[in-house]
């Protein structure tokens, strides 16, 4: 379009990267809230899956993608509410819980499509007017500076960080750690649900079986690769999305496609091994709250 073929290619690569980064960044920021407030979050995948499914179902039934998107977010919140009841109230192990919810979500999605649409795993495809062209991406662009400001400047972000680093101090200040973790979990679900909904309403045009395809785990990888800090986490998402977009370009270059697919996981393992400087998880992560009166 510019007359320069290499520039065209570059622009299309950048656009493809931004597109496929959108659900990743939503989910990774969700994971950020959960993990920084002290909850290990391996059920991002399940939240995204429920978000993607609900988004597509609601957009199909109402014809309104915005409503679908919001309900997708709420579906994520619902998953994290279940998470909160079990982890905060019953103090169940968060990793078992995350695994259980992921398995449950993977079972529920085909069940719902079967009951509503009599199809084994996917929804009918959405007409053009009930899906997005770029809106979730712009919402995300607006959200990122707001979040960076919130993280750097506000008191409430400190509360979230203290809930994950040293909850005793927080409770001695008279704050309820439980509430802060609950709100952080709900924010996590909302964002991860948005991430899932942007998959089915923006990147694709329907819900298809297991459409998250491990994106919840890549988002978690990005969060760890970004050392649990918002800026680097977003950068890691962009990097992983870039690798993903390169996949198309590199087809037929002799480089096996599986190698590109496992690259995000590989660099995360290397990063966790401390070869890119230490990445340290929040101190109180995964530890259930002490019994409080």
């Amino acid at each position: 379009m510019t007359g320069l073929p290499w520039l065209d290619e570059l622009i299309s690569l950048v656009l493809a990267t931004l597109r496929s980064a959108t659900p990743l960044i939503f989910a990774a920021l969700g994971g950020f809230f959960s993990e920084r407030s002290g909850t290990v979050q391996i059920s991002l995948e399940g939240q995204m899956l429920m978000g993607a499914l609900t988004g597509a179902v609601i957009a199909l039934k109402t014809g309104n993608p915005y409503l679908g998107f919001i309900c997708g977010g709420l579906a994520g919140v619902f998953v994290t509410l279940v998470f909160a009841v079990f982890s905060l109230k019953l103090r169940m192990d968060q990793i078992v819980l995350g695994t259980g919810l992921n398995i449950l979500a993977m079972g529920l999605a085909p069940f719902v499509t079967k009951v509503f649409f009599d199809s084994t795993g996917s929804t009918p495809s959405l007409p053009a007017e009930s899906r997005f062209t770029s809106e979730p991406m712009f919402l995300l662009f607006a959200l990122i500076p707001l979040l960076l400001w919130w993280f750097a400047k506000t008191k409430s972000s400190l509360y979230v960080q203290f809930a994950g680093e040293n909850p005793t101090i927080l409770s001695s200040l008279g704050k309820s750690v439980l509430k802060i973790r609950l709100y952080s979990l709900m924010t996590c679900g909302l964002l991860a649900g948005f991430g899932g909904a942007s998959l089915s309403l923006f990147l694709a045009s329907a819900y298809s079986p297991n459409m998250t395809a491990g994106r919840g785990f890549i988002a978690l990888a990005a969060l760890i690769f970004g050392k649990w800090k918002p800026g680097p986490t977003i950068a890691a998402c962009l990097f992983f999305a870039f690798i993903d977009s390169l996949q198309v370009q590199l087809q037929g270059s002799g480089l096996p496609v599986q190698f590109i697919q496992i690259l995000p996981y590989l660099v995360t393992v290397v990063a966790l091994a401390g070869f890119f400087g230490r990445s340290r998880a929040p101190a109180a992560i995964g530890k259930p709250l002490e019994e409080s009166k």
């Binding site: 290990v40 391996i42 279940v82 079990f86 019953l90 103090r91 169940m92 192990d93 990793i95 078992v96 819980l97 695994t99 259980g100 919810l101 992921n102 398995i103 449950l104 979500a105 993977m106 079972g107 529920l108 999605a109 085909p110 069940f111 079967k114 009951v115 084994t120 795993g121 491990g214 785990f217 978690l220 990888a221 760890i224 096996p256 599986q258 190698f259 697919q261 496992i262 996981y265 590989l266 995360t268 393992v269 966790l272 091994a273 401390g274 998880a281």
Partner: protein
Amino acid sequence: MKSVLGFLFGIFLSLLLVLWIGESPLFVLEVLYRSAFGSKYDLGLTLFYATNLAFTGLSVAVAFKAGLFNIGAEGQLHFAAILTAWVGMTFSQLPMGLALPLAFMASTGFGFLYGLVPGLLKAYRGSHEVIVTMMMNFIAAGVASYLTLNVLKNPNSQNPETSPVSPGFFSPERDLTQQFFEGAPVNYTLWIAIGIAVLVYFFLSKTTAGYKLRAAGLNAASARFSGIDSRKVQMLAMGFAGALAGFVALNEITGSAGKYRIGFSADYGFVGIAVALMARNHPLGILISAFLFGALQKGAADLDFETELITRDFARIIQGIVILSVTAFYFIDFKKLIQKWRSK
């Protein structure tokens, strides 16, 4: 006891879901029962799933006793399976007497190595084993799919699978267990699973090494004070867990399929977490809970044919709900609740 109640409650909740979509819960129960115990063949299929789940359940349990969370059993079994298939294709002239011990060493050895990596990283770099094993699941899937499609591909098949291993490694017609169950995929590894569960039980409760492992799991710091190198113990425990998951490869390659097929595992590694959880990590209890989860897996496949709306993914719903309800039953203090209720 609590876990049985939790299991039953989980089934009950799933049946409510069945009721809600307008299928008959009683019919579902009947199909589940019939499909698990209806015929020798059905029982054989259930036992086949149970064999794999016993291995992964033991894998999760051993790591758990050492204070580690192995959610990498899925990766470990895939890694072991593809390489065992490769061994079985490469050493094609071996007679059965040599081939099977070699396959045994390959499947547990490669599983051990793949489990050792997160153990090493945990012990000497402080990396959290949960995230590392989770990432390594995806890496194993990628490596296995590359090897299957590009290196070991079966030229005579449309399916994504490797060529069959040589007859020394896989000859079902000589497998008496398989004969007895009328050709169901269950095979001699069923007895290995039972034997291994007993061995793991004795290892954990009666040997010094098992005692060290549990000590490192209960309190790594105080174990260190009493002269136990907990880091090394945890590292080896993770390798041990990987080896146990590797037995699934032995079942698949030398017992039931004779080749590596992409997607052969019905999430054995993850369901193994539920299996271990329900048995509270007791090696012998795992045999029972593996059987129950195996029956669910088999039953859900039959529900797919016998009901209109329930697909085989229903197994996942039940598994997920059972995980939640079993743990909920552990954490709810019933005595306290009853006291509260009485004092009102």
